[in-house]
């Protein structure tokens, strides 16, 4: 199985989001990337679509649902979020969506900072195998992985997709 070309996938995601935003009824959305890869993708989107800054980040290490199996991520960095997300419109960005558990954890964390007015999910790559009812609003490419396959985004410069 071949991995999609990273530049073409990033371009496709930018195009999709631009089209999505043409009918987006809200102004000044807040861009939040899920650490680590989602932050790189979010920065790319800010650069190419001239989206509003600053770029915020969410680190879901303390919100994962597999702490009892895998323990604490020793490389936890902490989130960089404003004091309140109350009534804000958010574009949440991740690199690869698979089970949906990372996005679930990120949304849970965002709600601890207030009740957002809306959250739009943008993912670079959708590899299926969902375990939760969470779907991206826009995504750069879809790929059907084998059950034992995992994909990781490396970066930030240059960004590359690799099998783990």
């Amino acid at each position: 199985m071949h991995l999609p070309d990273i530049d073409a996938t990033c371009q496709a995601l930018s195009n999709q989001l631009q089209t999505y935003l043409e009918t987006y009824p809200h102004s000044n959305p807040m861009i939040i990337g899920i650490r680590t890869g989602g932050v790189w993708v979010a920065q790319h989107l800010i650069n190419t679509l001239n989206l509003p800054e600053p770029l915020y980040s969410v680190d879901i290490s303390f919100y994962r649902d597999d702490f009892n199996q895998k323990g604490l991520n020793p490389k936890v960095c902490g989130s960089e979020l404003p004091e309140s997300l109350e009534n804000r419109h958010i574009i949440l960005v991740d690199d690869v969506i698979m089970s949906g558990r990372t996005v679930r954890a990120a949304i849970n964390e965002l709600f601890d900072y207030g009740r957002p007015a809306s959250i739009t999910l943008a993912c670079l790559l959708d590899v299926g195998q969902r375990e939760l009812p969470i779907q991206p609003d826009v995504c750069g490419a879809k790929l059907a992985l084998q059950p034992d396959q995992l994909i990781k985004l490396s970066g930030p410069e240059p960004m590359t997709l690799n099998f783990v």
Partner: protein, 330 residues
């Protein structure tokens, strides 16, 4: 104590599974504690939102000695990790009716305790309990006799790191009642492992243990000399309740020789910080003008204590979980 306390507190993969002492812990592991603690603080040093990391876990505070701030900060730390916490009132527990310590613990284990935070007047108490409890129960030492107070030492390391940028290369003076101080021992181990340039212990000969230099510290009897070129001055409380002999002529004499005044502090580096693990005896080991002055970070220490305790509780609980993790599914 039968087993090596350092080994006992580590899982086979090197993760922390109990936190009993700073002695013997690697620089990497101590840095991981500081890194994790920092992740519970925002750039301004304020604690982040409550997180759901230990939801469903039961933490039991077992304080056989009096404590206000340590017990409170452990309770706050557990609460901010979303754990359920039980403060056992030892004075009213079955221990006071003759039940042995281990019978009390086994009963609490049967009530699904996941972690014991232990303070005890006897050195080695937390270690003894860690040897006895069943696997999957973490022990955090909140101070045992004169031996160790590792979370206090690590919150002091975090304070130095956040106010001086790094621990490596710092000249640190620990002043006062070293003899009775479990804090000083834990600090010396941590400071040496984290690369402090020099650790000076300062006090009258009666309050400096004879073997203290074996830990890598340099003993000073002259406070003024010890303060020269110091980056960090840590004052300790005179532990009068542990003094069984006449170790001091008087408190006023002690203050004259080893009390930190603004005049004395001027001998240290101009940007030196002043720390104290509390509770402070104003006018005995430190004057109010210094304790409340611009170089004092004493109240900051208390706040950092919550973050450090959150870190070691999360890491110890993590170390108790399976360590056979594969790659994370996104």
């Amino acid at each position: 104590m039968t087993s090596d306390p350092c080994q006992l507190q580590l899982a086979p993969n090197g993760q922390l599974r109990h936190f009993l002492t700073t002695e013997g812990l690697s620089k990497e592991l101590l840095e991981e504690i500081l890194h994790t603690a920092n992740s519970f603080l925002d750039p301004k040093g304020q604690l982040i939102q409550k997180v759901p990391l230990l939801r469903g876990k039961n933490v039991v505070n077992l304080f056989f000695e009096n404590s206000t701030r340590t017990r409170s900060t452990f309770e706050l730390a557990a609460t901010r990790l979303s754990a359920d916490i039980l403060n056992l009132d030892i004075q009213r527990s079955a221990t006071s009716k003759g039940e042995t310590l281990m019978d009390t613990l086994w009963n609490l284990e049967a009530m699904h305790a996941d972690m014991f935070v232990v303070r005890h007047a006897d050195s080695g108490a937390a270690h003894f309990i860690a040897e006895q409890v069943t696997p999957n129960v973490a022990i955090i030492n909140a101070g045992d006799g004169r031996h160790s107070h590792p979370t206090q030492a690590m919150l002091d390391m975090l304070t130095i790191q956040r106010h001086k940028g790094q621990i490596e290369g710092q000249v640190v003076a620990i002043v006062g009642d070293i003899l009775h101080s479990r804090v000083a021992r834990s600090q010396i181990h941590a400071l040496k492992a984290l690369g402090a340039a020099e650790v000076r212990v300062v006090g009258p000969a009666t309050l400096l243990p004879k073997d203290i230099e074996a830990l890598g510290a340099k003993a000073y009897y002259d406070f003024s000399l010890a303060l020269r070129d110091c980056d960090v001055v840590i004052m300790l409380r005179l532990q009068k309740e542990r003094m069984q002999n006449a170790l001091l002529p008087s408190e006023s004499e002690f203050f004259k020789l080893y009390g930190l005044t603004a005049e004395k502090l001027a001998l240290a580096k101009p940007d030196a910080i002043v720390m104290h693990p509390g509770p402070i005896n104003r006018g005995v080991e430190i004057e109010s003008a210094v304790a409340d002055g611009p170089q004092s970070v004493i109240l900051k220490q208390v706040g950092y204590g919550i973050a450090v305790r959150m870190a070691v509780m999360a890491m110890a609980m993590s170390g108790q979980q399976t360590t056979q993790a594969g790659p994370e599914a996104p």
